[in-house]
Symmetry: C2
Subunit: 190 residues, 2 copies
């Protein structure tokens, strides 16, 4: 049930509306947690009725009004309590690995394009992370003396970068294996 807490952290870093949160979940928070706008609105409603967050109606020109949420004291306490609880290391859900093992019962060569597509996506994501890192942390426009929040955001981003680099290298390993199998199969069937 960490979506609650992910939203609380995001609102502590910067108050905002459900819509703004949804966009953050496509970017920075989305590096390690995904959520759709429906999920977010539902959780916001629940947390508001529980008194964890406050709402403020913000009239806007040139666009619809929005509800800006910010964390209230009980929400902060709930987050602190969660931070002190131990959690289990994440459970993995890797569809592509299922496909790779499944390819043994089908045509391994047919997977090559799919794996190449994933390789491109992860390469793009890595470039995006690295651009964000230069912009916010290591580039010339980055703040000179980072505070604790920035240090922690940076170490999480470094995790995302490490993950993408590892994944890209592994996908290249997968591709080499699939191509070797495809070649061997071609030889045998002739």
């Amino acid at each position: 049930m960490a979506l609650d807490h992910a939203i609380l952290v995001s609102l502590l870093e910067q108050p905002g509306s459900g819509y703004e949160l949804a966009r953050r979940f496509e970017r920075s928070i989305g590096y390690f947690w995904t959520a759709t706008h429906q999920q977010i609105y539902r959780v916001l409603k629940r947390m508001e009725s529980d008194g964890w967050i406050d709402v403020r109606e913000v009239p806007q020109q040139a666009r619809p009004d929005k509800k800006e949420y910010s964390v209230a004291a009980p929400g902060r306490a709930a987050l602190a309590a969660w931070l002190h609880e131990p959690i289990e290391p994440e459970s993995v859900r890797h569809d592509l690995a299922v496909k790779i093992r499944g390819a043994a019962f089908d045509d391994p060569a047919a997977l090559i394009h799919e794996v190449e597509r994933h390789h491109r996506k992860h390469t793009d994501r890595l470039a995006h992370y690295l651009a964000g890192e230069r912009r916010d942390f290591t580039g010339p426009d980055a703040p000179g003396e980072p505070d604790a929040g920035q240090e922690l955001q940076h170490v999480v981003l470094r995790g995302g970068i490490a993950y993408e680099r590892m994944t890209i290298a592994w996908l290249e390993d997968v591709l080499a294996t699939l191509r070797r199998l495809a070649a061997a199969h071609g030889t045998r069937s002739r």
Copy 2:
């Protein structure tokens, strides 16, 4: 909905009961997909009524009878169809990263023990994977001429190994960051 397909792959690699599948999901398949026995029994029931898998009652001595499932032709066809569909790269769910960013609004030092605990767990898991790799693929008792299925299982296992190594290195980065922040905080508060 890839649990169906993960089960089909596992049953193709080796037919078995719901209980046996649940144990595989704690081991090899569990490297990239998790499932509880309730989930597994429920899906097995559905796939059986859809004609994707066949059941065989197997009487056993010294333990309760079991139902051994194996993949039927329609199940194999369903798996093949899924293999040819493109899938989106996995969505990440990393509670620990939420905690790390949340620590900016609490005490970063309080997270150190939690991160150390995760570090130990991942170190154990890596050792377990490496033992499995030696046993099944690179050790002296491993088969000399691996078939396609074994090659593909090995490349997936190499992915698990790469993931654990990357995670362990990142957790060390996180620990160094937390300790630096804790020391700076201690200095400032004096």
